[in-house]
């Protein structure tokens, strides 16, 4: 057993932490999230140059073949800066699906372009009725003239406004919530019949709702097995959960440090408020939630390549912990900062909003407790 980073991993950590400190301070981030794209294309080019976009991708396709630990290191640092560039939609979800399910031609087309920073991706998996069930799909893919015609809706697709290609789940057979029939299609963002409604999200990111109205897809657009893609989707979203947990740990660490410092410096009744026992205990609870979350993040990261049952259990356990802890640490950071915590100009509230949205992403604590229970009964 070893929880230490290798020399290369430590170097990676230093470089991404330095990037966030030097070039992603809170004011810089505020300007970015209100810009047209909601992020910086210059930063994206820098990510490519520094090898962060290619980090988890296979070496045969321009990647660096990094392990989930490298992804965890990157995402934790991104979380500490509330980095808004669409790394999760493009690299973790989009490229992750192509790597896991794509044909040789699809991998050749997509992965080097992602690694080089020339292509952005997004993955639409949720629908208005689906809540967190990845198999609850009403978007249909009907065979037609050697290809497919897609009709339906996809909800809250992160990264879609900037994506060059959007991967969607659709049903090529089976009933509404059957595993059988779930398929993946990779569509050009400007495909005829694909309408996007773009918007900002509460945490400053960008997403879109998609309407697919008779979108034509050739056989080359199918990603993985037609009708048999649910396993791939679950695998990739579990990997995304591990990355998201790392991001949340980075965000919680900032809130923990900022709040602890505030308790030491803010004086009321003639003493730093950290002298009050009730606030000390609250801070200790926040500290414990953070450390428990870090532990679960290590656990899921190290179990992603074990068997399917172990992976699912680890992902759901970690996500349940992260959702609960993130909301607690976020809300208490606001509370302990008093009125200041309520202000938009302080970074605390922005981290809280991101942690709230992380709870929802890929299923909230309730959803993952239920999934964990089903896997462990």
């Amino acid at each position: 057993m070893d929880f230490s980073f290798s020399t290369e991993q430590t170097l990676l950590k230093d470089s991404v932490v330095r990037f966030v400190q030097d070039e992603y301070d809170f004011d810089a981030r505020r300007k970015l999230v209100t810009s047209d794209d909601g992020f910086s294309r210059d930063n994206w080019a820098k990510f490519a140059e520094l090898g962060w976009l290619s980090m988890p991708l296979p070496e045969d396709y321009g990647g660096l073949g990094g392990s989930p630990v490298e992804t965890m290191i990157l995402m934790e640092a991104f979380g500490a800066g509330l980095v808004a560039e669409p790394y999760m939609p493009t690299v973790i979800l989009g490229a992750g699906l192509v790597e896991a399910a794509g044909s040789e031609a699809q991998k050749q087309e997509i992965l080097p372009a992602v690694a080089g920073g020339e292509m952005m991706l997004a993955f639409g998996f949720a629908e208005p009725q689906s809540r967190f069930n990845l198999a609850d799909i009403t978007t249909t893919a009907e065979a037609s003239n050697g290809g497919y015609v897609l009709n339906g809706k996809k909800s809250v697709v992160f990264g879609a406004p900037s994506a060059d290609k959007i991967i969607v789940s659709a049903r090529a057979g089976g009933g509404q919530r059957d595993a059988d029939g779930v398929s993946l299609f990779m569509l050009d963002a400007d495909a005829a019949g694909l309408a996007r409604r773009d918007y900002r999200t509460v945490d400053g990111l960008r997403a879109a709702d998609l309407t697919l109205d008779g979108v034509k897809a050739g056989p080359e657009a199918v990603l993985g097995d037609l009708g048999g893609a649910l396993g791939v989707i679950e695998n990739v979203t579990d990997r995304a959960i591990a990355a998201l947990c790392a991001e949340a740990v980075g965000a919680m660490q900032v809130l923990h440090d900022t709040t602890n410092e505030y308790l030491k410096t803010r004086k009321q009744f003639g003493v730093p408020i950290g002298k009050f026992q009730v606030l000390q205990h609250r801070m200790v609870d926040m500290f414990i939630e953070l450390e428990q979350s870090r532990s679960m993040t290590y656990m899921v990261t190290l179990k992603l390549d074990e068997g399917e049952a172990e992976r699912k259990k680890a992902a759901s356990g970690a996500k349940a912990q992260i959702g609960k802890a993130g909301k607690f640490v976020g809300a208490q950071s606001v509370q302990l900062h008093g009125g200041m915590g309520m202000t938009d100009e302080l970074k605390v509230g922005h981290f809280y909003k991101r942690l709230m949205m992380i709870d929802t992403m890929f299923g909230n604590t309730d959803h993952h407790l239920k999934r964990f229970a089903a896997l462990t009964q």
Binding site: V202, Q268, Q335, G349, K370
Partner: protein
């Protein structure tokens, strides 16, 4: 002991319901339901509707325009207003400074201010907190120095709700820097149009604007604007905090929002079934509703005591503590209930996402949740309220 309403009370409820239905514009109730920050005109129009009916100020003495409602009638009225989505009245004039003025003010102050508060001509804000004085309010440093018939006021107030449209501010100021903290404070009424007052907006985490900073730079205030005696301001401030404690439980509003939660949980699906049939989620709703029912009963017991002339003491802090906790819990469940559609950003000033990105009921859920994080902070944080109960009620 009897929980039932009398026939007279039931008739009163019908009367209130009918009046609200006939007089509350639907655009206004929609704004309230979706958690928008209200503009001055929104607040004023409903204020004036109630003033015209004579239902504005049940807690005022009858000679100043109050009405002699029983606590049960007040409860019924509040409940019906919340159900209908009526805007909460701005409390700073009506419920906060007015009782101070009619209890401790001079005849001139009563004659000038009370009619203008009642008519809605003057809106008020509260100048209490300062950057260095939040929970420790008595450490406030805004000073008022005598200069002939005036005070010269210098200082910096913060978290001042509605300062950007208020006509007057009631301020706690230090008039004796040498006295013990609580004994050197005075209660001063200041015209917001006075030269030297600057208001700077504070945008809150929901990206809305209701609160502000107020800078007072050599503001000249006539000594006739002093309430009661100089250096007795802390007494009046404590009186004000003890007034109208029962509204702080926010029960009527929470009942409305828990119904909204159930409505959403019936519409949202999980694995093809309504979310409300999900055992984990329905248990959380029930747990919250049981706590809310208990709080409602506690609130009613306090009201009953009040009607028998026993003003609520420090134990009323429990209404604030539990009321704020429940407000936040219900909002957290609302956010959970709408799932991914909590995400789309809503900008109140620009009419939000029009039409809503997801279902209409998801509009404003997250913004409201974020703004309601303040309920455990303002008016004495929950930690301070617990200190009050520990010390004043339990003798610890």
């Amino acid at each position: 002991m009897d929980l039932a309403f009398t026939p007279e009370e039931l008739a009163f409820r019908e009367e209130v319901r009918a009046f609200i239905a006939a007089n509350l514009p639907s655009e206004l109730s929609e704004k309230v339901r979706t958690g928008h920050h209200l503009e001055k005109e929104d607040l004023r129009s409903w204020h004036q509707t109630l003033a015209a009916k004579g239902w504005l100020a049940p807690n005022w003495p009858v000679e100043h325009g109050g009405i002699d409602w029983s606590p049960t009638q007040k409860y019924i009225f509040d409940e019906e207003c919340a159900k209908a989505g009526a805007p909460p009245l701005s409390p700073f004039g009506l419920s906060m400074v007015a009782p101070v003025i009619f209890t401790f003010g001079s005849d001139e102050q009563k004659a000038y201010h009370l009619p203008k508060i009642y008519s809605g001509e003057h809106f008020w804000c509260q100048g209490y907190s300062e950057p260095g004085s939040g929970s420790d309010l008595a450490s406030l440093r805004t000073k008022a120095e005598r200069d002939g018939d005036d005070y010269i006021v210098n200082g910096h107030k913060v978290w001042t709700t509605h300062a950007h449209f208020a006509d007057w501010i009631f301020c706690l100021v230090r008039t004796d820097p040498d006295a013990k903290q609580q004994e050197g404070i005075s209660f001063l009424l200041i015209d917001m149009k006075s030269p030297g007052i600057t208001v700077r907006p504070i945008i809150t985490i929901d990206e809305g604007h209701s609160i502000n900073e107020v800078f007072l730079d050599n503001v000249r205030v006539p000594r006739s604007n002093l309430i009661g005696e100089e250096n007795k301001g802390w007494t009046y401030a404590k009186f004000l905090l003890g007034h109208e404690r029962t509204g702080i439980a926010n029960v009527a509003d929470s009942k409305v929002r828990i119904e909204k939660l159930k409505e959403i949980a019936r519409a949202e699906l999980t694995d093809g079934s309504p979310l409300i049939t999900d055992s984990a989620f329905s248990r959380k709703i029930a747990d919250t509703e049981v706590d809310l029912t208990a709080l409602e009963m506690t609130n009613l017991r306090t009201l009953a005591d009040e009607s028998e002339g026993r003003a609520p003491g420090p134990e009323a802090s429990m209404l604030k503590i539990r009321g704020a906790e429940l407000t936040q819990r219900i909002d957290e469940l609302l956010v959970e209930a709408v799932g991914y559609y909590a995400n789309p950003y809503e900008l109140p000033e620009h009419g939000r996402n029009e039409p809503a990105v997801g279902p209409d009921y998801a509009d404003g859920i997250l913004a409201h949740h974020l703004y309601m994080r303040a309920t455990t902070i303002y008016g004495g944080s929950n930690e301070i309220q617990k200190n009050i109960i520990a010390k004043m009620v339990l003798g610890l």
